[in-house]
């Protein structure tokens, strides 16, 4: 049977369900979480499905504990997932930092709702974009992905696991209430058609193993606890052996390597899609559910003969600096619609380096940005 004859597995799925499906395809075996809207369906799906495949689900006493349990399970060898929303994401920051400094693969979903604090349960927001980058303290790298359709939730969840295993870093999947709760057609790929990446294992004997000595790609091979490699993990800055160090050269090299392992692989990590940008004079840059409205706005603008295109960001962090810089040299104007008061627009401005005009378009009333508004904004800017 060739690929064309294969029966497609098409389902109508909710965004959060698609996240669970993607995680299962990627090989998730552990979920720890705490109930919070609009992410709870991910936990509910995991509670039902994980034991069927011999995986484990646990509802912890809070979000701090969920993040800790996820890291513990990953160190013991299971691909691990947790999901939350803004208030819970705040609590996860402490141990998110622990996962970063110890290079523990795991995936953290933040189905964004309006904030600050209890904020707007449950209406959509994109207010946590900068929290995703800088939420936990200290100089640290992060990978964050933002799907804009239910199908993309599935594919980017798989990507999130793959990046986390490949680069030994927690990956944040940024949903928003709209795509977390909406239902759409999803084509579920067959397992043999997807790429699943597993963490690199040590190739040396336990007595020779240096748990934090990187290979050439900047990523150290990871022995799981219980596999005969006895070593130390600590939230303190550590040397190759994993033991705390106060040697300034070792400290400097360690922090720089954490960043560099991501920085030198940005070509692999940064994902975006371009719509009608070839001849565009005006570019929209959008992500998440707003990118859907932006894509529609491009079609409507083109019908009016306006040369508008869209750069849809799927990887948020690290930011696609080079592509935006190149785009700023091509177009006269970039409009950045966001469901916040201007977060990613700051990165866009930084990348544009003054080579074109960069204009934000914002909503923070808990309502979606719709295509007509964006079209209106384009018209307004053209008049100026």
């Amino acid at each position: 049977m060739n690929n064309l004859e294969k029966k497609k597995n098409i389902k109508l799925l909710q965004g959060n369900e698609a996240c669970a499906e993607g995680a299962l395809l990627a090989g998730v075996k552990f979920f720890a979480g705490y109930p919070i809207t609009p992410s709870s369906e991910i936990a509910e799906n995991m509670a039902r499905k994980l034991p069927k495949i011999g995986g484990k689900f646990i509802q912890m006493e809070d979000e701090i504990a969920s993040m800790a349990a996820v890291i513990g399970a990953s160190i013991a060898g299971l691909k691990s997932l947790t999901a939350t929303s803004g208030p819970g994401m705040c609590l996860k920051q402490e141990n998110l930092g622990f996962a970063i400094i110890n290079e523990i693969p795991c995936v953290v979903v933040n189905a964004q709702r309006g904030g600050p604090s209890t904020g707007l349960p449950t209406k959509p927001s994109q207010g946590d974009m900068m929290q995703a980058r800088w939420g936990t303290h200290g100089d640290h790298p992060i990978i964050a992905l933002a799907p804009s359709t239910v199908h993309e939730i599935l594919t980017l969840t798989i990507k999130a696991f793959n990046f986390s295993e490949k680069y030994r870093i927690p990956v944040i999947l940024l949903l928003d209430e709209v795509i977390a709760h909406m239902r759409e057609k999803v084509e579920i790929p067959a397992l043999e058609d997807i790429e699943v990446i597993n963490r690199k294992k040590p190739t040396v004997l336990p007595e020779k193993y240096l748990p934090f000595k990187p290979d050439e790609d900047g990523v150290p091979p990871m022995a799981n606890f219980g596999e005969g490699y006895r070593y130390h993990i600590t939230g303190l800055i550590h040397n190759y052996k994993g033991l705390p160090t106060s040697n300034s050269q070792e400290i400097d090299a360690f922090i720089r390597r954490l960043h560099n392992k991501i920085q030198k692989n940005i070509k692999d990590i940064i994902i975006y899609e371009k719509y009608s940008l070839d001849d565009a004079k005006i570019a929209l840059i959008a992500y998440g559910s707003v990118a859907r409205a932006a894509e529609r706005a491009v079609k409507l603008a083109r019908e009016e003969g306006l040369k508008v295109g869209l750069l849809k960001l799927l990887t948020i962090w690290p930011f696609c600096f080079e592509e935006v810089n190149r785009l700023a040299q091509q177009v006269d104007l970039i409009i950045v619609p966001e469901m916040n008061l201007g977060q990613m627009v700051l990165e866009v401005e930084r990348a544009a380096q003054g080579k074109c005009r960069v204009v934000p378009y914002n909503r923070v009333d808990g309502e979606l940005i719709n295509p007509i508004e964006i079209l209106g904004k384009i018209g307004e800017e053209i008049k100026q």
């Binding site: 075996k29 552990f30 720890a32 039902r48 034991p51 069927k52 011999g54 484990k56 646990i58 912890m60 006493e61 809070d62 701090i64 504990a65 969920s66 800790a68 349990a69 996820v70 890291i71 513990g72 399970a73 990953s74 160190i75 013991a76 060898g77 299971l78 691990s80 402490e94 141990n95 622990f98 606890f225 219980g226 005969g228 490699y229 006895r230 070593y231 130390h232 993990i233 600590t234 939230g235 303190l236 033991l243 705390p244």
Partner: protein, 275 residues
Amino acid sequence: MKTVIDEYIRKEMFPNMWCPGCGNGIVLGAIIRAIDDLSWDKDEIVAVSGIGCSSRITEYVDFCTMNTTHGRALPFATGIKMANPDLKVIVVMGDGDCSAIGGNHFIHAARRNIDLTAIIINNMIYGMTGGQYSPLTPTGKFGSTAPYGNIDQSFDLVELAIAAGASYVARGTVYNVRQLISLIKKALDKKGFSVVEIISDCPVSYGRMNKMKSPVDMLKWIKDITVSKKIWEGLSPGEKKEKYAVGEFLNKDRPDYTELYEEIIKKAQERGVNK
């Protein structure tokens, strides 16, 4: 001369970072001797700690070790144990670590009765940060943040652990090491959530602020304030306030959380993949 201790420590990490006279070293020795008595395979042991002087214990033992975040050792250990129930997971915490910032995790680990051994080194003070009072500092004692005496009522960790659902609960001291080794050994060997609170000394912070500057003064004090469970039961309520009962307080059999989850897996799989 080689001792049993040498078999289990990371020698390169010595001398340790603890102050002279600190009880943590006695606890480290007792844990190692208890493990050696049980003839456990080092490759199967995971030691997890939080933050504080006591939590540095995990740096010194040659197992899979993890020095986690403040108060969070138990949820990290919960993830490890769930992922691989074959591992023997020991959690070492300080009094502030376990009963203040980690208090919620402590009661929930006990409630689940997950098969972990929690060892709490109770020196009644935050030692590493300079002697601030903790939830286990006795009322009336002094700390750097209790310069006029502590007005807080302290927790009784033993009662807390029993009420929350642990399977094994004991209290020992760094003064009575033989008893301590035996209590730790029983706790390690117990299926389910086991707790050993260890009354320990911090001459530098607690002792200095409470008129017991030398380690010997502190050990004598520990001897004076502790009585066996049997004697304690015969004391008047007023006398009980001044003393800590020492010994084994609970040893019961209850299904461990990881065993219960295996039942969930069976049930889920019987229902089939798509239901």
